[in-house]
């Protein structure tokens, strides 16, 4: 009795490529401000710090130049958090003003996945720009 094959056809390439995949999908158009707070001497600050490093990258900042990313250092051993304030227009439609991720027990990958789930999904869809047709192109389409 053989068990029918189940599972992925392709093997995953590891955590790093998963993080890369999530980073490519990040879209900050819906976010007004992102505040990352951590205590450097806290036990579980590593993943939040790594997340702060990835999200401050210029490639991700290009998705929304008006969104400010602020990193704050706490001194009271409180848990690390990621607070994302949404744009008022999008907050009105989605009825959410702020998204707080308590990242004490979350890995960097999980934080990015949650960010994509809650923020990148709210990003407004951009229509493709209407291209102007030249006269020669119009003639070609007419003859066809």
């Amino acid at each position: 009795m053989s068990i029918p094959y189940s599972g992925t056809i392709r093997r995953s390439k590891g955590v790093v490529s998963a993080i890369g995949k999530q980073l490519k999908a990040v879209n900050l158009k819906a976010a007004k401000k992102i505040t990352i707070k951590f205590d450097p001497f806290g036990e579980n600050a590593t993943h939040t710090r790594n997340f702060a490093h990835y999200i401050s990258a210029p490639k991700i900042a290009i998705t929304n130049p008006n969104c400010s990313v602020k990193t704050e250092v706490l001194c009271d051993r409180s848990e690390p958090t990621v607070e994302i304030t949404l744009l008022p227009a999008i907050a009105a439609t989605a009825k959410i003003q702020k998204v707080t991720l308590r990242s004490e027990n979350l890995t960097c990958l999980e934080i990015l996945q949650l960010l994509n789930k809650h923020i990148s999904s709210l990003a407004p869809v951009e229509l493709p720009p209407t291209t102007l047709q030249t006269k020669s192109d119009k003639k070609k389409t007419k003859t066809k």
Binding site: P40, S56, V73, C75
Partner: protein, 250 residues
Amino acid sequence: MSSLKKILLEPRACLVTAKRFRGKINIQRPRLPHFERQLLLDLSKPKYGPPKYTLPDFLLCDRGEKKNKTEIDNPFERILARECLEWFNTSKMIVFLHVNPITMEDKTPVYAALNKNKMYLRTYGKKIVSLATKGTRYEVVNELFTSHQNIIFGQPENAAKMFKILKKAPQLVVMAGVVQDRLLSKNELLEFSQLPTLDLARSKLCQVLDSAGSGLVSQLNRSQQILVSHLDKHVEQQNSSIEKNEKQES
């Protein structure tokens, strides 16, 4: 000459035969190698197995056995660790920064400004710092080295200037610091930078100590001073009244 040849060893003259002379090399119809040469060639051919991505999982499983990574002693790392420890020992103020992505274009002016104020921004990795601080009093600092970080080595007098310079680079975030062998958090470092200079503090202390004695003296002399001021006023009044009378008479 022949006697010299008998004493000294004769070097073997190597047999030189010309293989090619301007001609084309033959690669189209190579000669079949000799049987023994062919044997050696066949034995020395590399054997490659099937690629790992085509193999099923049960063949690739390592049964949870982790290969023990033997740590190779790297002398360059030891040198860097020694240099790092020297920096730690010679600077009275050490500030640890969390680094977000920053271009060298933005980082260089900060580096230059810090250098002008005798503060040095340096990057050491986790391994080097752990090698340097192992067994020393700075061992606690290893907890900070989990992501990307930089270190500023300087003197405590320049703490306020350091914060002013770092305001221009928000990608460099102050986490903690060691000032005169005391570990300070970020808030404590800020407070420390806002403290007045030592001379100012000493002058204030002198003022406070002086104030007790001078207060007592002023209290003791108060009644006499009041009497003196009253007498002065009385004399002035009398003088003014005498002058008025003289004016009226004239």
